[in-house]
């Protein structure tokens, strides 16, 4: 009992981290796109659990809401609607493998560089929740909001502008005339 109480967060971290990595591997290795989509969903939810363990409540809930509840449902919708077997046979990505190889090598390099610098264990098992604004204790959501809308207002607005551009672009592409 003592062991579980002391090491509980650490054990849960390894459980969910393993789940996230395992399901991420399944996303790219499974043949059926439907299975891949569900593996991706499990991966997203495991990452949300990691956020919870790090006391980032707001981030965790938004992760579930946006990725779990929104984006993955759209993925599944498209996968169910489109007959993916036919697309596989057409091999539309056949010509792109040199570029893909280059990108993959670059990505591996980047990841190895990060891995070499980061200590891969829960360095701090119970980090303090971000709850204070100017020394005054408020909730986690309020604290994140203050950070976003005061200190990081410009990056926040630029990010939302990008999303707007992407949305207008999608509408333009989808117009029939």
């Amino acid at each position: 009992m003592e062991f579980l109480l002391v090491n509980g967060p650490g054990l849960l971290f390894y459980l969910f981290a393993a789940l996230a990595v395992l399901s991420a591997i399944l996303v790219v290795s499974l043949r059926n796109p439907m299975y891949s989509a569900f593996a991706l969903l499990v991966s997203f939810l495991a990452v949300a659990a990691l956020f919870f363990l790090l006391h980032a409540e707001f981030l965790a809930v938004v992760q579930i809401f946006v990725y779990g509840g929104g984006i993955m449902v759209l993925f599944l919708f498209v996968i169910m609607l489109v007959n993916l077997h036919r697309i596989q046979e057409a091999e539309i990505y056949g010509m792109q493998w040199p570029a893909a190889l280059l990108l993959a090598v670059m990505l591996i390099g980047l990841v190895s560089w990060v891995v070499a610098r980061v200590q891969f264990s829960p360095a701090n098992l119970a980090p303090a929740t971000l709850v204070s604004v100017d020394g005054e204790v408020v909730g986690n959501v309020q604290a994140v909001a203050w950070q976003l809308f005061q200190q990081y207002l410009l990056p926040f607005e630029i990010a939302s502008l990008f999303l707007l551009v992407a949305m207008i672009g999608a509408v333009v592409l989808a117009r029939k005339d």
Binding site: L5, M34, V61, F65, G68, G70, V73, L76, G139, V141
Partner: protein, 356 residues
């Protein structure tokens, strides 16, 4: 004495467990008798009697229904994807019951008295409710896809499109009471209605009312009830996503639908109708409505229950009144009417709050 994060075993584990079990039992009972009430009220609306054979006035009908469903053969189609087929009903019921953990059924307790009337109060409570509710749609999609049946598949697709579309106005309309209260904690929102002396449905008139209307319409669509029950439209899709399901697995889908109705009603009561507060909490001469002769908190719970049951009645009333929407009408209503109106009320409430 083992310490659990600064609490004793009793306050850390036993009290919440008892509350969780009590909440689930109460909700399951309400669900059982909602199905009965639905048949009786629909019977009344259609000038017929409704079930009246099992027990006095048919009161034991739900028990007979459950016994029948438990006794039925559990069919899994030959070419179904078995794990997904089995998992799907659980994915509908699980999230709906999970949300019950953050709903405030009654007031928090004073220090040293009986435990408060909610299981837990989370700082991001409302976000948690919306997030967990958005997971529920996977049950419908998965069930529709795993059944390996074209009607189920179409039902699952419709469910996906409908839930995604109506989550947006639902989320926007919930921002309005959050703006009025200035917190996301559900207990905090009800307490804000107490200190401001009005239910948020009457706040910033007419924007509170508008947001409430949008929330409830979107909620009816989210729980796949008439007039938005297109994922299971029996005149077009046999039974939609649960065509292949039988016995207790079908009953689980049914249970999930009713649990979702209760959750959506409970959130509407908490956000717009003052949760456990009596009507007009600021009017002095109505204070006899506090029912002070009842033990602490029970009066609040009774008010909550009355509001909740009225919502369930409205759900059934809708079913007896409105014809089903066509799918393009459903999308039109969601995207062209509800979302712009919800955005308008959010902006108007924010401006009002800043300027006045």
């Amino acid at each position: 004495m083992v310490e659990f994060f600064g609490e004793t075993l009793f306050t850390y584990a036993v009290v919440p467990l008892v509350k969780i079990i009590a909440a689930i039992i109460v909700v399951l009972t309400i669900i059982a008798y909602t199905t009965f009430a639905e048949r009786k009220i629909l019977g009344f609306l259609q000038v017929r009697t409704g079930p009246n054979r099992v027990g006095p006035w048919g009161l034991f009908q739900p028990i007979a229904d459950v016994a029948k469903l438990l006794g039925k053969e559990d069919v899994i189609p030959n070419r179904a994807v078995k794990w997904a087929y089995v998992l799907a009903p659980c994915l509908v019921v699980g999230p709906a019951l999970l949300i019950l953990s953050v709903i405030p059924y009654g007031p928090p307790s004073a220090e040293g008295t009986i435990p408060s009337w909610f299981i837990t109060d989370v700082n991001a409570g409302l976000l948690l409710v919306v997030a967990i509710a958005s997971i529920g749609v996977y049950g419908l999609i998965l069930g529709g896809w795993a059944s390996n049946n074209k009607f189920s598949m179409l039902g699952g697709l419709r469910a996906a499109a409908q839930m995604i579309s109506y989550e947006v106005p639902q989320g926007f309309s919930l921002i309005v009471p959050v703006l009025m209260a200035g917190t996301l904690s559900l207990v905090g929102i009800v307490e804000a209605q107490l200190t401001q002396g009005r239910w948020f449905i009457f706040g910033f008139f007419p924007f509170g009312l508008l947001a409430f209307f949008i929330y409830f319409v979107a909620g009816v669509a989210e729980s796949n009830r008439n007039p938005f029950d297109l994922p299971e439209a029996e005149s077009e899709l046999v039974a939609g996503f649960h065509t292949e399901y039988s016995g207790m697995r079908f009953a689980l889908f049914f249970l999930g639908e009713y649990a979702n109705m209760i959750v959506i009603s409970a959130v509407a009561v908490t956000m717009f109708l003052g949760g456990w507060l009596r009507p007009f909490p600021s009017v002095g001469w109505l204070s006899f409505l506090n029912l002070a002769f009842l033990p602490a908190g029970l009066a609040g719970f009774l008010w909550f229950l009355i509001k909740l049951l009225s919502f369930l009645f409205v759900y059934i009333w809708f079913r007896g009144t409105f014809p089903r929407y066509r799918f393009d009408q459903l999308m039109d209503l969601g995207w062209k009417w509800l979302i712009p109106t919800a955005l308008l009320s959010v902006v108007a409430t924010a401006l009002w709050k800043v300027l006045i």
